[in-house]
């Protein structure tokens, strides 16, 4: 209520502990008429608090609490706070609950990595955890969960499991402990030791207290994702718990019933947990579960018990999660079809939210072979949604679903609807629609004239959104299929007649006429001179890139149509070309002019011969869509289930020199391309260790292999080895790096005797990693991997700028009908782009001094995890990538290294020093680099190696 006076806006009731001073301060801030006034008031208050904290008089707990709370308020307003931490820490050890509570809140919101403070905070937390006072214990656990830092993990990760399963812990403490542990495990899984407690955690699913079960399920779901075998027993417990909830009457669960729906949060969580596993093997458990799922589907048909939206939301939350589980199992045709019918009803529901979710959920149903046909029956409703929905996010879902349900039988209808939608589509989603139309048109093209028409329509309707990938692709396809070349030439010629046509149309037209213009030259309406003057009429309005392309077309014309030679030479000779300010245009004009004057007809014909067919490769458009949408975006199409035969038109190399999606031209500098990688030996059928011959090292243990995280860490100092192994699959890596470039060979070995279906490994760049490092798949793997076989994938890597998180490898496939998926960190870390630098002691010290800002240095003191052996240490440091400098450190036990990290955008100089202390079995590692996050990151990576 802005404008009201101070007293009027103070709340009438202040619950619990009113802090009058705080309320007055908040009112003052609210009354400030301008940002300046607010800042002035805040500065006044900060000065006041500072003087109170510094003053001689000791503050009582209440005042301290009040001031800390004011600081917190100021921080939450968006201002910086650089003091008061100590006073907050003092509050932690107060025995007054609300003082402690405010202290913890402050610490949770404003964590500071000041190590001295962390020690004090941890100490206070330790005391509270040991206090046996459940309210204090909960506060401490909340704080750990809210901060969730590695330091806290190191201090408490080992204690919390004990508190969680202790027989005498109060329910509320157990709840907080479970979720606290979850947070620590997510942040640093290596700090949470698995052990005897895990079995007891699973049994919390049986706990009498529903709140304890609710908290525990979240923890178990997270843990079992990484250790599925250790937690297998949770399946039957989860099923029986779910069954009891689903079959209970709407009031049985008292306060855990929400608007007549029994325990909706717990139900959803249990259904999520079950999605971590394949269908239960035990027939009785499975029967019970199927019964539950059917009950949920049945209940959806019953009349609602309340008109409140909360009732229907809670009920439908369970229903949607049930459908997700049914889709995850993908093995019960009956349930899949029922799910589809249920979603079909929602497609026309008056609640926008339900329409949105139904469209989204149906997208995944469309890729199941059991329900694909059932989904298709809703095509008219979905098309209608695309046309009439008022909310763009709902229309987007409808477009996604049309894309997912598309197959040969409905492709023409869907493509034409999407084209129509494109004319009025929101700008934000146009590019995506263009990509989707381009992919569908290619994938389901029966006659290629339809394909060519569709792409030209795309350019006509949304030329600005047609990316290079799309128009490159149409050129590749026309080049590779001689039955469509004449039609394409005729069509682009007609399209270019339009008075205003998009520049992309000129590009496509220019290229196609240059290659295949001869196929329509017999018609006097499109004779060579007419073709030329049509193209040249667009020339002056085009960008440099397009003009360069047109110049290439012109020289091709001289070869195809000798009668145009004089005219074209005239154009090339014009001052505007020969003396063009643009180097590329000038060079083309000069070279083409000379070529046409000195070369014989035969030489000209050889040089300008028709382009050879493009080699088969993944559609670059599909790759682009995946990049745009993240993992899983292209799933409907990658799915080998539908029409594997339609891949016959795959092409891949771009026709013009300026390209985006080919591996960077400099990749050849690696000198790797000429020499194929050493092929893995043919795998003996059914062998346990497919790659053991290729890869050295202890990593290739058959079943007790390292965790993915451990395996990833091992790659920090080496380039080859086994990245992942379970009972089904082994993934081996060989990689080479030079400068800011690298190449990685991934070997996927099927350890079973059964063929993997829909095998799809994809590289994922989380967040904006794409702008830091680029990975291109240059060799795709087939969708089927036979039992005992091994397939190989090649990635080209380019480091654009420094990065901290590795790209991810997501592998999905079906094994015996069950979808499998895993996500691994690819062993690409910033140190791979190290270039070792040798230097003398004097230079080293000079540079070391130059990098003396506190943020340029990162240091870690840590315990040795491996035997402290100088030779091994040396090998690891060299593997890490830096040069090892002898005779620099006065202490010969110490190691000193130097190197430069090469990225495309910048170089980062790095110096490092490792000081082993054999007596204490400790190391001290110091990194100095010119870039702050790099120092810290390298320090962390390297510290984990010793």
């Amino acid at each position: 209520r802005p404008g009201a006076n101070t007293t009027a806006i103070m709340p009438a009731v202040s619950k619990g502990d009113g802090m009058r001073g705080l309320a007055v301060f908040i009112s003052d801030i609210r009354n400030c008429k301008s940002k300046e006034a607010e800042i002035k008031r805040i500065n006044k208050e900060l000065a006041n608090i500072r003087s109170k904290f510094k003053g001689d008089k000791a503050l009582d707990g209440y005042s301290k609490k009040k001031y800390v709370c004011k600081l917190l308020f100021i921080f939450l307003l968006g201002h910086d706070i650089d003091f008061g931490h100590m006073e907050a820490v003092n509050l932690l050890s107060s025995n007054k609950y609300t003082e402690k509570q405010i202290g913890y809140l402050f610490i949770s919101v404003l964590v500071n990595s000041n190590s001295e403070l962390i020690r004090l905070i941890n100490n206070a937390i330790k005391n509270d955890l040991a206090s046996r006072n459940p309210t204090f214990m909960c506060l401490a656990l909340h704080c750990i969960a809210n901060v969730g830092s590695r330091e806290m993990g190191e201090a408490f990760a080992a204690d919390i499991p004990r508190i969680l399963v202790a027989g005498d812990s109060m329910d509320s403490v157990k709840q907080s402990a479970a979720l606290c542990l979850l947070r620590l495990y997510k942040a640093s899984p290596d700090l949470v030791p698995m052990g005897e407690w895990t079995a007891r955690v699973v049994h919390l699913l049986n706990d009498q207290h529903m709140g304890v079960v609710t908290a525990a399920v979240s923890l178990i779901t997270c843990l079992c994702k990484k250790n599925p075998d250790d937690f297998k027993t949770c399946i039957s417990l989860a099923v029986s718990r779910l069954s009891r909830i689903v079959s209970s009457a709407s009031t049985d669960l008292q306060d855990y019933t929400y608007y007549f729906v029994p325990a909706p949060w717990l139900s959803v969580k249990l259904l999520r947990l079950l999605q971590c596993y394949p269908p239960p093997e035990d027939a009785a458990v499975k029967g019970r579960l199927v019964e539950c799922l059917e009950t949920v589907l049945n209940k959806a048909q019953e009349p609602p018990k309340s008109k409140k939206v909360q009732h229907s939301n809670a009920k439908n939350a369970i229903l949607f999660e049930t459908i997700s589980l049914i889709i995850h199992y993908d093995s019960e045709p009956n349930l899949l079809v029922r799910a589809c019918n249920q979603l079909g009803q929602f497609l026309q529901h008056r609640e926008t939210n339900l329409r949105y979710l139904a469209l989204e959920s149906m997208c995944t149903l469309a890729s199941s072979e059991f329900s694909h046909e059932a989904v298709k029956t809703h095509i008219d409703t979905v098309i209608n949604a695309l046309k009439t929905e008022r909310d763009v996010s709902v229309r987007q879902r409808a477009a996604d679903l049309l894309y997912a349900m598309c197959d040969r039988s409905n492709a023409k209808q869907i493509v034409s609807e999407m084209l129509r939608y494109l004319e009025t589509a929101d700008y934000a989603i146009r590019e995506e629609i263009v990509l989707k139309v381009a992919i569908l048109a290619e994938k389901y093209a029966v006659d290629y004239s339809w394909y060519v028409d569709t792409i030209l329509n795309l350019i006509r309707i949304a030329g600005d959104y047609v990316s290079e990938e799309v128009w490159y692709r149409v050129l590749q396809i026309v080049t590779n299929r001689d039955d469509v070349q004449g039609y394409a030439a005729k069509t682009v010629f007609e399209a270019l007649q339009a008075p205003a046509c998009h520049e992309n149309m000129v590009k496509v037209g220019g290229y196609i006429l240059g290659e295949f213009g001869n196929l329509i030259a017999g018609d006097p309406r499109s004779s060579p001179p007419v073709q030329f003057s049509l193209l040249h009429s667009k020339f002056h309005l085009c960008s440099v890139a397009t003009r360069a392309l047109l110049l290439s077309t012109y020289i091709k014309f001289i070869n195809l149509f000798p009668e145009t030679k004089a005219t074209i030479q005239g154009v090339l000779r014009a001052g505007s070309q020969l003396r063009n300010a643009d180097v590329e245009l000038q060079q083309r004009a000069v070279e083409y002019l000379t070529l046409s004057s000195v070369a014989s007809t035969d030489v000209l014909a050889t040089v300008l011969e028709e382009m050879p067919p493009f080699p088969e490769r993944e559609s670059s458009i599909l790759a682009k869509l995946k990049r745009k949408k993240g993992p899983g975006a292209g799933s409907a199409l990658d799915d080998g289930r539908r029409d594997p035969s339609s891949n016959d038109i795959n092409g891949g190399v771009e026709p013009t020199p300026s390209t985006v999606s080919t591996p960077s031209p400099s990749a050849d500098l690696l000198g790797l391309r000429a020499a194929p990688p050493p092929a893995a030996p043919p795998a003996p059928a059914g062998a346990g260790n497919l790659l053991v011959d290729v890869f050295d090292g202890p990593a290739a243990q058959p079943s007790l292999g390292p965790t993915p995280e451990e395996a990833f860490l091992r790659f920090v100092c080496k380039n080859n080895g086994v990245l992942f192994e379970n009972q089904l699959l082994q993934i081996g890596v060989k990689s080479e790096f030079r400068q800011n470039l690298g190449r990685m060979y991934l070997f996927y070995g099927n350890k079973t005797s059964v063929q993997f279906q829909n095998f799809l490994p994809t590289v994922v760049h989380p967040g904006d990693l794409q702008t830091h490092i680029r990975l291109n798949v240059t060799k795709r793997v087939a969708a089927q991997v036979d039992g005992g076989a091994q397939v190989q994938q090649v990635l080209n890597i380019e480091c654009l700028r420094d990065f901290l998180t590795p790209p991810l490898l997501s592998v999905r496939f079906r094994y015996g009908g069950t979808p499998q998926s895993l996500t691994l960190k690819l062993p690409v870390t910033i140190n791979k782009f190290f270039q070792p630098t040798e230097m003398a002691a004097q230079d080293f010290f000079q540079r070391w001094k130059q990098l003396s800002l506190p943020q340029q240095e990162a240091q870690k003191i840590f315990k040795a995890n491996h035997p402290m052996d100088a030779v091994l240490t040396k090998a690891k440091l060299l593997g890490f990538g830096s040069a090892l400098l002898d005779n620099v450190d006065p202490n010969p036990e110490n190691f000193v290294g130097a190197g430069i990290i090469q990225t495309k955008a910048l170089q980062v100089g790095c110096l490092l020093r490792l000081e082993p202390n054999a007596q204490a079995q400790m190391y001290r590692l110091t990194l100095r680099t010119s870039k702050e996050p790099v120092s810290r990151h390298l320090c962390e990576l390297l510290a984990q190696q010793f």
Partner: protein
């Protein structure tokens, strides 16, 4: 989870993943803008970066959660609603001002309900019991304190 007013003023922020202050401010700005730009009656869900946004407006306040791809949108809407109910019950028909002036209480209630980004306790009774207990503790202490002041003043009177 973010709570912000129709004017775009942030009233409560809770982060369950580690982010720098700069990132937090950027995300907040972006989300507030995106959500405020949406018209009434639009769908409560939208895609944002690689997350899903679930939001709902209660009077002058927007409640907005970012959840992961696998998470359930509808149950998240009801997480928001249950939180509103908890605030309502604690403050007695809660309004934006209660949350401004008692922001610390809003955080405490949230911590009892959600922890580490997961639902900890869904029972309204149990959550409020934990909070009321804390208030009672405080009042008991305050009471004790006033008794002491009384004795002190009696002493001086003598």
């Amino acid at each position: 989870m973010l709570l912000f007013s129709r004017q775009g003023k942030l009233r409560l922020q809770k982060w369950y993943v580690p982010l720098s202050d700069k990132e937090k401010k950027k995300i907040t700005r972006e989300l507030v803008q995106t959500v405020l730009a949406r018209k009434p009656k639009m769908c409560s869900f939208l895609e944002w970066r690689d997350l899903k946004i679930v939001y709902k407006r209660y009077a002058s306040l927007y409640f907005c959660c970012a959840i992961e791809d696998q998470d359930n949108e509808l149950i998240t809407l009801e997480i928001i609603h249950r939180y509103v109910e908890l605030l309502d019950k604690y403050f007695g028909s809660v309004c934006e001002l209660d949350i401004i002036f008692n922001f610390e209480k809003a955080y405490f209630i949230l911590d009892e309900f959600l922890l580490g980004g997961e639902v900890q306790e869904t029972s309204k009774k149990n959550v409020l019991k934990a909070i009321e207990q804390a208030d009672l503790l405080q009042e008991a202490i305050a009471c004790e304190a006033s008794v002491i002041t009384l004795t002190v003043s009696q002493i001086t009177l003598k």
